[in-house]
């Protein structure tokens, strides 16, 4: 699963995901992509599930780019623990996603296969998404 190698702070505050994405909103590598239509957190497990599903459906054909990275630690208290005694340890890593962000890109596969692969990938995510393809020059 994806996670940072080094971090500046072991635990961070939760924060809010406000507004639309300004970076990572265009297809930069592949011909097809998956665009987030809602804001939210995507966990490292969900990213991995999305990747495995796509690779599996395409039978390792084509090329995949994951355009997001889970760099935010989310802490979790152990089960059956009383409240207090400080903040819990890092349980998972998430990528805060703003709407409009491209999550995944694909290349080297027929359009119908790309559409189906990304539809399957989207079922692993907690947010609404849209399939997009490269068209036009500008």
């Amino acid at each position: 699963m994806l996670m940072p190698k080094r971090v500046k702070h072991r635990k961070v505050q939760r924060g809010k995901v406000k507004g639309k994405a300004t970076a990572g909103t265009t297809l930069n590598f592949g011909d097809y992509g998956l665009r987030a239509l809602e804001s939210g957190w995507i966990t490292a497990r969900q990213i991995e599930a999305m990747r495995v599903t796509t690779v599996h459906y395409l039978k390792r054909m084509g090329k995949i780019w994951i355009r997001i990275f889970p760099d935010k630690p989310v802490s979790k208290k152990p089960a059956e623990t009383r409240m207090g005694k400080g903040k819990g340890e890092t349980g998972e890593w998430v990528a805060p996603i703003k709407k409009g962000r491209i999550l995944l890109e694909l290349e080297g596969v027929p359009p119908e296969a790309a559409r189906e692969a990304l539809r399957r990938a989207a079922t692993k995510l907690p947010i609404k998404t849209r399939f997009i393809e490269r068209e036009g020059v500008l």
């Binding site: 996670m3 080094r6 971090v7 991995e48 020059v137």
Partner: protein, 226 residues
């Protein structure tokens, strides 16, 4: 291609939002050593123009305050969600001055490698070229029909007129044909995910502290040796 543009007095996000609601698209015209102007144009006209454009390197004649300006579209801003046009940048170009433009690369033919099951990998979809406006190529066509699996088409293989200079690294790969990957049994997602635990990443501050300590101990050693 011709398009009518008007001078724009509405500046600032609120006023610009208002003109967008009225069917205008805000933009700007700039050129080398010239004053820039805020402009607006009808959204239908711009959508039609962009639809017809084959490449960014296409000369567009702007009808602006009774003058005809030769220009190219430098940038188009779209809404990331709705993909509606938000803003357009035109660059006024001079006939005798070289310009740097991104030209679209058109891939022609089906390579032999792809027919044998290889994967076509496109590294560059655009090429940056520098030339006079009259020599601007609308597209660069590359023929890949002879590419076998493992072969590459490099920037140096592209044939262009002498007065068009390519601003990219000559050894860069444009297109290559990768060998097909073997189908390997993919582990079920849950199993794979459970197998890996969450590890702790290193803290940058700790690393720095360790480095400092190491440096200090070195200095101490040197002092004692002296």
């Amino acid at each position: 291609m011709k398009i009518e543009v008007m001078k724009r007095k509405e500046v600032g996000s609120n006023r610009v939002k208002k003109i967008r609601r009225e069917g205008w698209i805000p933009g700007v015209i700039y050129g080398h050593g010239e004053k820039s102007y805020h402009i607006k144009l009808r959204d239908d006209d711009l959508i039609k123009l962009i639809h017809e454009l084959h490449s960014e390197a296409t000369l567009i004649t702007l009808n602006f305050e009774g003058k005809e300006l030769q220009s190219i579209i430098r940038e188009v801003t779209r809404d990331p969600l709705t993909e509606k046009l938000l803003h357009v940048d035109f660059q006024h170009i001079h006939e005798d001055e070289e310009v740097t433009v991104h030209v679209i690369v058109e891939i022609k033919g089906e390579s032999l490698g792809v027919k044998d099951g290889g994967i076509l990998n496109v590294e560059h979809r655009y090429l940056t070229v520098r030339c006079l406006p009259k020599d601007m190529p609308e597209e660069i066509v590359i023929d890949i029909s002879n590419l076998q699996i493992g072969d590459s088409y490099h920037v140096s293989d592209i044939e262009l007129p002498l007065n068009v200079k390519i601003e990219e690294d000559q050894t860069a790969t444009m297109v290559n044909v990768l060998s097909p990957r073997k189908i390997v049994e993919v582990k079920p997602v849950e199993e794979e995910l459970l197998a890996e635990g969450v590890e702790e990443p290193e803290l940058i501050s700790e690393e720095e502290a360790e480095a400092k300590e190491a440096e200090e101990s070195k200095e101490k050693k040197e002092e004692t040796e002296e």
